[in-house]
Symmetry: C2
Subunit: 544 residues, 2 copies
């Protein structure tokens, strides 16, 4: 008997169980009525959204989620199987990351996730106990298995589904984006599908949640290992596949975005959802004439529309004329509202107030920080008064080495490009210009400067980004040692300087706003370092 | 044969493997030479310090720790067993939280921790695999077992040591402080010791590490369940117990501090170690004339000495005369340096700069925030220029409901009383005054005010602290639901207001500096909530 299976790639809201229930019920009704589906597959923990973090430790939250499962079952169409994810508590008070199959108003079976990730951004063992067995159920004449996200990455779980009789496995996922991740996911499933001669349907959540973006890119793989369906990335979609004569039928396969384009889309979706889900009226940002704020402006406009974005130019005595020109040209090219508020009077007020205490000291970064912090105050005042979310414009290279002012340019509610290294900032800016030209060429070619002191350039304080970025990638993302990085051909002085700066800047990162993860290891929940730390790398090994 | 066992309650430095190795070797030499000890017991992961967090994911770090074990063995006295903790990697690359017994220059045996805590502040399953078996070794004619921290909280592990022949179990710990925790620890051990007729020696780390304070309070319990030795709290100490005729001999038992006193000591140690271990030259803070900054000043002076603390008074037009008087009297009573820097000229500069954009709007919290942020800039400038750590003075009640200005009074590197609810702030201030009177009585009796608007009082915006604090404790520390808290007799309006404010303030807390955990659940790594969250408590349950 042919089966029609709908893939519900939905943008859910963490914690808003009622809204998620309504979204799921609507997807079920649509799938039944418009698509004539026999089964609808939703994503992991779809009832609560993912990751709900310590909300999962609340009894009231877990109870509400369970009640929602009952409500969803009651309000969904009959003669339709609906597979949803929810936190399931047993009689002993143990919590499981479960999938429920709802049929004709009732819970038919529940499957409990066996592989609980507890690395990177994941803390599932903080909340859940692991399940112990597969769960096979029959729809018409087809035996189906269930798996949840990490289960497909752990060898043996899909195989056990096959062994226990499943010919088709439904996988519920909440797999966050990083560059090239969608290909990784498909590969891991395709290889097992082919080897086990098992059909697999994989549904991923879509949308932004604090630091994470879920890219969707749900797909179906037949028992020969061919991808027969792929949903669009970064969009909600109800896909449909047919299982006929024991085979998934080929249908629409949306192409993958290329890497740079998917990174750009992830950033846009991350901004859009943070603003919308937190109830902000648009966004504001400081526009300096540099490439970082130029990129964030373009991202914000692409996410929210130009009417929802306000740019603020805050020149000081160190701001070059061309910086103002370029900033104005960026704001005008994108059609956003802009304010020009010079900071000198505020800086002068602090200089005078501090003069009695500072008398006899020499200028240092203190004076640079005062300028950055005056801008921070102005931007926060505009955000407080007018209601827009303040976006910071710092990139990952700066966040790594602490080349940013706490409460200054780091002030803001969301840091869109916090996980974007400087060289990638340029690539993304050029990519955006290739669609429509919104950033002046000069911004992409002049040497970067914070413009907090006369003739200042980033390279006065830091190794050139061409050296710095790969060193940072090796140290931060791949946990390589000083010796390994030097052995790879980098200047020992550059390596030691970069790493010392990374280690010393943890206190700044701890107070930075959340940003969007696009690399395999982002700052935040993904990389948890102590502030107080005496570790100085493997160069110290011989000094006992 | 009698045995002398030294308890090395040491203040170690996370990440500084070389320094920790030297500290351990010195303790071993002293124990052998001065105390004639047969065995020295150190705390959990003593080689790396605890918690080393994601440093444990670095191969170079784990390799260095292993080399340090070899070095420690080589440099320690012969005819002395030395028990230390280190991260042990097996040939497969699995990491264990292990204890090594060093004897005569070599590793005699290793025990791998079986119970890995992954709740609260603990993430051990992120790093470690669990061990699978007890480890019994013989010293002279005594069979000893080993256990590590959480092992004694999980039923069965001490029992298995007994079953496998141990008559005395050595427990390595890194058990962080919260109020009344030491009594809990002793109770759990005493009960098992008595029931199993097993002697237990328990050594805990001491010292501050970012958000955590380890209080020491190491102890020994004989096979009848009597505490025969207790080390002092909050101090390094090399204790000594004798095991003669199969019985631990009674010796010095330092009394427990009472609860308020232990909380005060924990805060003092937390400040002292954060400043010292991060290499700051003393501390500075803004002194408002309110009770919060008065307490933080006293704590800072008790931690660092009056010469290392600078107080800054920053009056505005809303600052009452008595606030200035009281602040000056506090600074003078403690003998710290003080600066008076009025903020009006800076506030006026921003008011003027923003006038064109703000024209036609009404004053709101924007203007209050500008004042708080001008103070933040001044304090950070002083910290940047003079090198002291800026301490924030916000309490847990404020942090809970967001009654604080991001980048304003929240600006700073460390937040000592972030986990101290307002009512406890008063208790701690009175406790400190009971030693020497340093805070004017008026500060303890006048209604609290942020003094950011005319005649402002906290109670204009918040429920009275007598209501607020217990509501917050139930909601934040005990995860109780709205219904449960109302059922306990609190005003529904107060409960709903408090909880709405807590939920909405997560973005502020995410950017707050670390502070010292003294309650069972602190903000920070202990309570991980999403910023983006649609959860509105169990009052929303019926609205689907």
């Amino acid at each position: 008997m042919p089966l029609k299976i709908a893939l519900a790639q939905l943008n859910l809201m963490v914690g808003d169980i009622q809204a998620n229930a309504r979204t799921i019920i609507a997807a079920a009704c649509h799938s039944k009525e418009r698509l004539a589906a026999d089964l609808v597959l939703c994503s992991e923990l779809s009832v609560t959204g993912y990751p709900a973090e310590d909300l999962l430790l609340r009894r009231d939250f877990v109870r509400q989620a369970r009640q929602a499962v009952t409500e969803i079952a009651k309000h969904s169409p009959t003669r339709l199987d609906l597979v949803i994810g929810f936190p399931e508590m047993d009689e002993m008070g143990n919590l499981f990351n479960s999938a429920a199959v709802l049929r004709n108003g009732k819970v038919l079976v529940c499957y409990r996730k066996m592989a609980l990730p507890n690395y990177g951004v994941f803390d599932e063992r903080r909340y859940f106990k692991a399940g112990a067995q597969t769960c096979i159920f029959k729809l018409k004449d087809t035996l189906m298995g269930l798996a949840i996200c990490e289960d497909v990455w752990r060898p043996g779980i899909l195989a056990n589904n096959k062994k226990d009789g499943a010919e088709l496995v439904l996988v519920l996922n909440a797999s966050p984006f990083h560059a090239a991740k969608m290909q990784q996911r498909e590969d891991i499933v395709v290889n097992q599908a082919r080897e086990l001669e098992l059909s697999v349907i994989y549904v991923n959540q879509v949308g932004g949640q604090d630091e994470l973006v879920f890219d969707g890119a749900s797909f179906a793989v037949d028992h020969l290992g061919e991808v027969v369906f792929r949903a669009e990335e970064f969009k909600e979609q109800l896909g449909l596949v047919e299982y006929t004569d024991k085979k998934l039928q080929k249908t629409n396969c949306a192409p993958f975005y290329n890497e740079i384009s998917s990174e750009y889309q992830a950033l846009v979706l991350g901004i859009r959802d943070y603003v919308a889900k937190n109830g902000f009226q648009g966004a504001i940002l400081g526009l300096s004439g540099g490439v970082d704020s130029a990129l964030v402006l373009a991202l914000a406009v692409d996410a929210l529309g130009e009417k929802q974005v306000t740019a603020v130019l805050m020149p000081s005595r160190h701001t070059l004329e061309m910086s103002m020109e370029d900033a104005i040209s960026e704001a005008d090219a994108l059609g956003v509202k802009r304010h020009i508020i010079p900071i000198e009077p505020a800086v002068a007020a602090f200089t005078e107030l501090l003069e009695p205490v500072f008398a006899g000291t020499r200028p240092d970064t203190t004076e640079e920080n005062i300028q950055a912090r005056c801008r921070g105050i102005i931007l926060m005042a505009l955000s407080n008064k007018l209601g827009g979310l303040l976006l910071t414009t710092g990139n990952k290279s700066e966040m790594s080495v602490g080349y940013a002012t706490l409460y200054g340019d780091m002030a803001g509610g969301f840091a869109p490009i916090k996980d974007v290294p400087k060289l990638l900032v340029y690539k993304l800016a050029r990519y955006r210009n290739s669609i429509t030209r919104v950033i002046p060429e000069r911004v992409l070619t002049r040497p970067p400067s914070a413009e907090l002191a006369p003739d200042q350039r980033d390279e006065d304080s830091l190794p050139p980004y061409k050296m710095l970025d790969p060193i940072l990638e090796k140290y931060v993302e791949h946990d390589q040692s000083v010796s390994e990085i030097i052995a790879a051909g980098f200047e020992p002085d550059d390596v030691l300087q970069a790493i010392r700066l990374v280690d010393r800047s943890e206190y700044k990162r701890r107070q930075s706003p959340p940003g969007i993860k696009i690399t395999p290891k982002a700052y935040g929940r993904d990389r948890r370092y102590p502030i107080t730390s005496g570790y100085r790398g493997d160069k110290a090994e011989d000094s006992l």
